[in-house]
């Protein structure tokens, strides 16, 4: 589970910079009251009278951003942290960070505790103390109406979807070994990059079942509209408890255990479970959820008019326009050099074109975002945003395509044009600027617009490096609501709208090239 979360978080489209969220807890009253009723036995991890909680808010319902404000961390873990702070009469501060930074930060005493939906694992407990606060279980989930299974071996020959790279797939692989020994067909494992896509495969009936944690499923029940049910809870000893982690200290652990136990007794824990619909009753509630309509027009229209979608579309458009503009600027001198005499430069440029046309765009994006900082630490710094990285890689990538268009266009201008310019005593620069480029532009324009339209859609790849462009925004909304069709349709409308606008623009611009068509030229005259 912890592994799966690390994967999930790395892929998560949100990219939250470590930021501190102060939460004034209990108000002035609670703090004033605490002066009198102060419990002298405060745990050692409360530094400077503040409970600092580190979390990676990407795992609903434990810890996640519930809404459009990425600064507002919500979830079971946050509620528990609030109650703990109240219990000790101290203010609480939330620090969000990458999943991989959580334990190092805890070790470096930057946090009092880590509360981030992390499974209690013996391996972790070698270095940190863990106090469990919520039971959980791995569940195998199928479409509503699927009869329950009695054991994992019943999945033999069936297809199961899991989030790629998670510990679930390793666990299923173990089952497959057992199945192979028994001479039975293995479970067919399909891996998808995000949890919502895993769920989707079951919803549309492509795969038989998926593996998940029960609390997450309960939380999603409302979104899933009773379309799934749990068919098996395998008796795995792991995946049993969510735990809060603190630095190793037996006394502190005891105090934290006491606090959690108190919350269990005074009903606070039950209230939190009820709030997040993870009580044991949750499974029953599922059966009574009315089925959702095929297409929710209100969701579609609110997506269409949401600022999130508009912002996503703007980022898509901005990064596409900037990248293509840069690519054109790079590719013009490149095309001139490539059309010129053989030289070392020409050989280098040929290599450049081959490499960047040959490598997949997605790989180039990942390389620039993830591998480049290994060689040049300057790209690790905060100024190198996903937007800049996308701009950089798409500019380079697109220039390799654009240079071929430019080359062909320049080559298609009649050689006599250059001769005529020369014969009229025009300089090299004047010949290119006033004679060759205007004619090459007309030839290059239709394929260039084609390239741009293609590029506009290629920007959707940048969601993998956490750029909040249109498709990333769509996927976040889908992950939150499971209303695939509505959000996909809204995204489609935006993409088509942008493409049609540029096709319209192309028609307008082409009218300016009437000189190339006898009939148009004559028509324009009248």
């Amino acid at each position: 589970m912890t592994h799966s979360m690390a994967q999930f978080m790395r892929r998560c489209p949100f990219r939250l910079r470590p930021r501190v969220l102060a939460a004034a807890l209990g108000g002035a009253l609670a703090i004033a009251g605490s002066a009198l009723a102060a419990d002298p036995d405060l745990p050692g991890f409360i530094h400077d009278g503040t409970l600092t909680v580190c979390t990676n808010p990407t795992l609903p319902p434990m810890t996640f951003v519930n809404g459009t404000d990425v600064n507002a961390v919500d979830g079971i873990d946050m509620d528990i942290a609030h109650r703990l702070a109240e219990y000790w009469h101290v203010p609480m501060v939330v620090t969000t960070m990458d999943f991989t930074g959580l334990f190092p930060s805890l070790a470096a005493q930057r946090c009092s505790m880590v509360a981030s939906g992390i499974i209690k694992l013996p391996d972790r407990e070698k270095n940190f103390d863990a106090v469990s606060y919520q039971d959980t279980a791995l569940v195998v989930v199928a479409r509503a109406g699927t009869p329950p299974l009695s054991s994992m071996t019943d999945l033999s020959g069936k297809t199961v979807a899991v989030q790629s790279g998670t510990s679930y797939s390793a666990r299923l692989a173990k089952e497959n070994e057992a199945l192979a020994q028994a001479g039975r067909a293995p479970i067919i494992i399909q891996q998808y990059p995000t949890e919502d896509q895993v769920v989707q495969q079951v919803l549309i009936g492509r795969v038989f079942a998926f593996a998940s944690q029960d609390v997450e499923l309960y939380y999603r029940q409302e979104q899933l509209h009773g379309k799934v049910n749990v068919i098996l809870v395998p008796p795995y000893p792991e995946y049993r408890h969510f735990a809060l982690y603190i630095r190793k200290n037996a006394h502190d652990r005891e105090l934290l255990e006491q606090a959690i136990a108190t919350m269990g007794q005074n009903g606070q824990m039950a209230a939190i479970q009820k709030k997040w619909a993870i009580s044991p009753d949750a499974a029953k509630a599922l059966a009574h959820t009315p089925p959702a309509p095929m297409f929710r027009w209100d969701t579609f229209f609110s997506a269409l008019t949401s600022t999130a979608f508009m912002r996503g579309a703007f980022i898509t458009l901005a990064v596409a326009v900037l990248s293509h503009f840069t690519a054109i600027m790079i590719s013009i001198p490149m095309a001139l050099a490539l059309n010129g005499r053989d030289s070392l430069l020409k050989m280098v440029l040929k290599g450049y074109v081959s490499v960047f046309r040959g490598a997949p765009t997605l790989l180039q994006l990942l390389f620039i975002w993830n591998a480049l900082p290994q060689f040049l630490p300057v790209f690790r710094e905060a100024w190198f945003t996903p937007f800049l990285a996308t701009w950089l890689s798409l500019s380079i990538n697109e220039s390799a395509y654009q240079v071929e268009i430019n080359r062909a266009a320049l080559g298609a201008v009649d050689k006599g044009q250059e001769l005529a310019g020369d014969a009229l005593a025009m300089s090299r620069r004047q010949v290119y600027r006033h004679v060759i480029f205007p004619q090459a532009l007309r030839i290059a324009l239709p394929p260039t617009i084609n390239e741009f339209i293609s590029l506009l859609k290629t920007t959707s790849l940048a969601s993998v490096i956490s750029l909040q462009e249109l498709l990333a925004v769509t996927q976040i909304q889908v992950a939150r609501t499971f209303e695939f069709t509505e959000y996909y349709a809204a995204a489609l409308v935006y993409y088509l709208g942008m493409v049609f606008f540029f096709l319209f623009l192309q028609k307008r611009v082409e009218r300016r090239f009437a000189w190339a068509d006898r009939h148009k030229a004559t028509a324009n005259e009248s």
């Binding site: 004047q430 090239f513 190339a516």
Partner: protein, 254 residues
């Protein structure tokens, strides 16, 4: 009549060449050419295709740089260090395929180079262009694009365009070769007109009427060499070389 190849170029001649040679890899395009063209002279260069006629006249504005020998235009020796802008403003060239700028109107075709190269103000450049367009009988088409004009009209625009740079020498590289007979007469009439105005003219052509009636001298070339330089009356009635006789026979039978 032929200058001594060893002599220095004649500084008073408009064009003076001595031992001019040009190679394309192994192929000798021009082989030790020597002759003078006086100011106001009209020369027609004849010869079978591939004889080097076009290459020769294109050397005069250094569209084709020569490899060896001496070329002098208006008393200036032309080499790699020469000011090409000045040379090309002095020597105008009209192409077989017109090479008008398709993206510019007829008027803009004529004013582009004067405005860019000579920094002539637009109004002045346009007034001059209209004057030359009138001279080539095409002023009414000034605002059309080349694609809307016939071949003959385009070639007349190309002549006007070259004249707008106010050159002292006009080179014509087979100006009528791409035209139908009707269009040819219009272009030849313009060339006659120009010749009468006294501009130094070198014309590569197969248009025998122009060669016979207008040219002061005929240069006959074959295989990169000049075989004859004679007045047209003599050339057409009594060619000195067998090669020229064969050439003329072919022209007539054709």
């Amino acid at each position: 009549m032929n200058p001594d190849p060893k002599s220095m170029p004649d500084p008073s001649a408009m064009i003076s060449v001595r031992n001019l040679s040009k190679l394309y890899k192994d192929f000798i395009a021009l082989d030790r050419i020597s002759f003078d063209v006086q100011r106001g002279e009209k020369i027609v260069v004849l010869g079978p295709s591939g004889s080097g006629k076009s290459t020769l006249i294109r050397c005069f504005n250094r569209i084709e740089p020569h490899d060896s020998g001496i070329l002098s235009i208006d008393g200036q020796v032309i080499n790699a260090q020469s000011d090409l802008t000045q040379l090309r403003a002095t020597v105008g060239l009209v192409f077989q395929n017109y090479n008008l700028f398709p993206h510019l109107s007829v008027l803009d075709n004529c004013t582009l180079a004067p405005r860019l190269v000579k920094k002539t103000p637009r109004a002045e450049a346009e007034a001059m262009a209209m004057r030359f367009l009138k001279q080539v009988n095409i002023a009414e088409q000034a605002n059309k694009y080349p694609i809307q004009l016939s071949g003959g009209q385009q070639q007349r625009v190309a002549i006007a365009r070259a004249l707008c740079m106010q050159p002292e020498v006009m080179l014509f590289d087979e100006p009528t070769a791409a035209l139908d007979p009707e269009a040819i007469s219009g272009v030849v009439a313009i060339m006659n007109d120009l010749a009468q105005q006294g501009i130094t003219t070198l014309c590569v052509t197969h248009e025998m009427g122009f060669a016979r009636h207008i040219a002061d001298r005929i240069i006959f070339m074959d295989k990169g060499r000049i075989l004859e330089i004679t007045p047209p009356a003599e050339f057409f009635t009594n060619p000195k070389t067998q090669r020229a006789r064969d050439f003329l026979d072919q022209m007539i039978s054709y």
